[in-house]
């Protein structure tokens, strides 16, 4: 049972939703798939039904406007639907979706991937303790449930996200014990020229920081959380000053807290692109391993388009415009016409991307951060593999992420390696004396998310089994 479209868009964030809308307005039959309940993506994530009324925020307003547009368009939204497999077919693409416990197949001439980013969290001793959540994860909690991660929270990490999270905790009535960031004030000053292009965001950020100062919340610049205390619940964190390379060198300082939000920048969620047959290359300035895409969203594979943070971390504003450009390119492809050149939009994209990449530059972890790990720090959470397990495997000759994965199961657990491969690449690079750019992630394998056996089995009839010719005796 498959449904046929001109274009299927995977991901309903600013990039995907705008691509879908643009293509639909151009007259294409568009389906948009997202695992969330409503369009909006990470940045404009919708509230869960729990929230009946609440003050709006810039994010909620942008998200509501987008949802309104999608609702009024001809885009067919598959919400709470997870894409688990992508295949190229003679007629274009086949996209396998898990929806309400069943597999649905979508067929389309063109496929737009807009799968966004996920967070890189640098492992540190104790980061697996319940009560430690990702910075990006914290924003999800704020946006959908308007809930707090705890009573008294340390917020730690790189780039602007750390200040956004701290300020949201304060807005929702929580207490921020401290903000801890590897960035220095000087790094922020250096990013200033790129930031003045977006005075609205600059003012908002300045307000967050000023509010923290006024409230007496300590901000530890050029510091990182070096250890988390607590067995089954966070009871506090130890922080340390960092060198220029972000290696810890200062005296440990203890901060009491019952929760920690921790994150070190975003990285493109590129598994879908890999499944669709795209090669990845390493771009530190874009957050890590990315597929090759141009500003119009075109990739090296026919009928395959890509936009937003999944193409490299450039931020929401750039993603929105990239989505529009990609929607135009993909719909031109479907109609068999040459895409028009939209110079104004292209320029707007370049401007937005410059701002986004300045933020990415602040967020990308430096090498020294690795040295926060101890020998017994868990790196692969699913299989409880420590740094010393991984280093031993590397020293025994495993020279690729693939070999480490096979030998130890690092990346074979339920998360599929989403939270350990970055660290493992760095450990391999370090051992070889090479660069992370020489250590690509392992081959992506379906399903993109764990999928229930019952869903795959569907309403199987034993008699329908295609019985093959018996194997030679």
């Amino acid at each position: 049972m498959s449904q046929i479209f001109d274009i299927v868009v995977i991901g309903a964030g600013p990039a995907g939703a705008n691509a879908a809308l643009t293509a639909a307005w151009a007259g294409c039959r568009v389906a948009m798939v997202d695992e969330q309940r409503k369009p909006g993506g990470q940045v404009w994530r919708a509230k869960n039904p729990v929230v009946l009324e609440a003050p709006t925020t810039p994010e909620s307003r942008s998200g509501d406007a987008l949802r309104q547009e999608v609702a009024c368009s001809t885009v067919l939204t598959f919400a709470q639907s997870r894409v688990w497999q992508i295949e190229s077919a003679a007629s274009g693409w086949e996209i396998y979706v898990l929806k309400e416990g069943k597999v649905v197949t979508l067929v389309a001439k063109a496929l737009i991937l807009a799968t966004g980013a996920r967070e890189y969290v640098q492992p540190v001793p104790g980061w697996t303790t319940p009560g430690v959540i990702g910075l990006a994860g914290a924003t999800a909690m704020f946006k959908q449930d308007l809930a707090l991660p705890g009573q008294r929270t340390v917020v730690s990490g790189t780039g602007p996200l750390v200040f956004f999270v701290a300020s949201e905790i304060r807005r929702l009535g929580g207490e921020v014990a401290a903000v801890v960031t590897p960035n220095s004030k000087r790094e922020w000053l250096r990013a200033f020229p790129a930031m003045v292009r977006r005075p609205d965001l600059l003012v908002r950020g300045a307000l967050w920081v000023a509010d923290l100062y006024l409230a007496g919340v300590p901000i530890y610049w050029r510091h990182a959380v070096a250890e988390i205390d607590g067995e089954t619940d966070v009871s506090g964190v130890t922080i340390r000053r960092l060198t220029r390379d972000w290696a810890p060198d200062g005296e440990p300082e203890f901060l009491g807290a019952d929760s920690l939000c921790l994150g070190n920048g975003l990285t493109p969620a590129a598994e879908a692109a890999q499944l669709a047959g795209l090669e990845l290359r390493y771009r530190a300035d874009l957050g890590g391993w990315c597929p090759e895409v141009d500003a119009s969203g075109e990739t090296e594979r026919e009928g395959l388009f890509l936009c937003g943070d999944g193409a490299g971390i450039r931020g929401a504003a750039a993603a929105e415009i990239h989505g529009k450009l990609t929607g135009e390119t993909a719909s031109a492809y479907v109609r068999g016409v040459a895409p028009g050149e939209n110079h104004l939009l292209q320029q707007a994209y370049q401007r937005a991307a410059r701002f986004g990449m300045a933020m990415t530059a602040l967020s990308v972890p430096r090498k020294g951060l690795q040295t926060l790990m101890c020998a017994d720090t868990v790196v692969c959470r699913c299989e409880s593999l420590t740094r010393s397990d991984i280093v031993a495997e590397i020293n025994a000759g495993a020279q690729s992420t693939l070999s480490v994965k096979s030998g130890l199961r690092a990346g074979m657990g339920p998360c599929g390696g989403k939270f350990c491969q970055g660290t493992i690449s760095q450990l391999i690079a370090q051992a070889k004396g090479g660069e992370v750019s020489d250590v690509p992630p392992p081959t992506a394998r379906p399903p993109l998310r764990p999928i229930p056996v019952a869903a795959l089995a569907g309403d199987f009839e034993y008699d329908d089994l295609p019985i093959p010719k018996p194997a030679p005796l």
Binding site: E87, Y96, G407, M412, G416, V453, Y462, L465, P468, P472
Partner: protein, 365 residues
């Protein structure tokens, strides 16, 4: 000074590594050249079933020896002798089962037919719909993802050199073989092509055409589950293999086909194969319906038209050899690799090899 190795082994799978180990033990100096990582081809992605019930009749003596080789490797490769059942759910399948397993038992495999009552006693979580079953106490499994780790370790222990991420670009024959690779030029007196599904490409570098084809087998694995089965499970048609590892994950195979070609990367999973494969697994073991599949993958299994191995001198050469296309090669690999090593060392192999120069349209045995 340039080193001239006694033999360059092209391909670091089970076949290449086992042969290299045997040759080194016999006094030769081999080098193993692998295009990706050691043991990441078919040897590292297969379902790991060590079952005599799915071996070819004429390969049974090799398979038995193979089982013993795996048992000796033991825990380092995740070996477990669990016993295995092959199931029939219809009368037609039952006939097929009887006919085929009788022949295999005659060939020396300790296979017996068991009552469904006995089956249920041992495996209470299997579906009630089984009409007939065979059992082999020798059957079990090993963990194929440990192939790379294990053989890399063995090569290191024996001080056998190897190169990973080493593509063979050209082979020239002068006083010795000159292999131009992505990691430099290598000289060797002899050559063993053990390049798995890529064996055809490797032989073509010597202008030899081998009629090699590749099947693209699919395997899937669940997350950890409570104990459901203790034996290796097969299906009369061969469309299902299933085992539960010590960590609780259930591995499902059965030769369902993905797509792709060895020359174009690692092959692709097809949903249209995974879904019926998993459905059949759930049919055979209803408790699986509560599990989630974490990963499906494919691997290339090479074969020639008569589905017997290539193991011997490359046609037209006396110092170049070929080893591959072994059906059930994971099981038989460590043993046939050893035979191949003996042959190259000039010893009489314990069991006969399989001439790669034969006429593939005739049944040669």
């Amino acid at each position: 000074m340039t080193i001239v190795y006694d033999i360059a082994v092209v391909g670091g799978g089970i076949m290449g590594c086992a042969a290299a180990l045997e040759m080194a033990a016999g006094g030769m100096r081999p080098i193993v050249l692998e295009q990706s990582d050691i043991g990441q081809g078919a040897s590292g992605v297969n379902a790991g079933t060590l079952s005599l019930q799915i071996k070819r009749v004429k390969l049974m003596p090799y398979a038995l020896k193979g089982h013993h080789a795996w048992a000796r490797m033991g825990a380092a490769v995740g070996f477990k002798k669990t016993g295995g059942f092959t199931l029939a759910f219809t009368e037609r399948e039952a006939e097929l089962l009887t006919e085929r397993q009788t022949l295999k038992a005659k060939a020396g495999a300790p296979i017996e037919f068991v009552s469904t009552k006995r089956l249920r006693n041992v495996e209470p979580n299997l579906a009630q719909k089984v009409v007939a079953a065979s059992y082999c106490a020798e059957d079990g499994y090993a963990n194929s993802s440990l192939t790379g780790q294990y053989f890399r370790g063995r090569l290191c222990d024996e001080a056998i050199e190897y190169q990973e991420r080493c593509q063979i670009l050209a082979i020239d024959r002068g006083a010795s073989y000159q292999l131009t690779t992505s990691r430099g030029v290598i000289y060797a007196k002899r050559l063993l092509l053990a390049a798995g599904a890529w064996i055809k490409t490797a032989a073509a570098l010597l202008d030899v055409h081998l009629p090699v084809d590749a099947r693209i087998n699919t395997v899937s694995v669940t997350e950890r589950m409570p104990a459901l089965i203790s034996s290796v499970i097969g299906h009369a048609t061969g469309l299902l293999t299933m085992k539960q590892k010590a960590n609780g994950t259930v591995l499902v195979g059965g030769g369902w086909q993905g797509r792709g070609r060895p020359q174009e990367g690692r092959g692709q999973v097809m949903a249209s194969s995974v879904m019926p494969n998993i459905a059949l697994a759930q049919f055979a073991m209803p408790g699986l319906s509560k599990a989630r599949i974490l990963r499906s993958w494919t691997g290339f299994e090479a074969n020639v038209p008569d589905f017997y191995p290539l193991a011997g001198a490359l046609p037209g050469f006396d110092d170049a050899f070929v080893l591959g296309c072994v059906r059930g090669g994971y099981t038989i690999g460590p043993y046939i690799g050893q035979l191949m090593g003996d042959f190259i060392l000039g010893r009489e192999p314990e069991l006969p090899l399989f001439d790669p120069g034969r006429d593939f349209d005739e049944d040669m045995l």
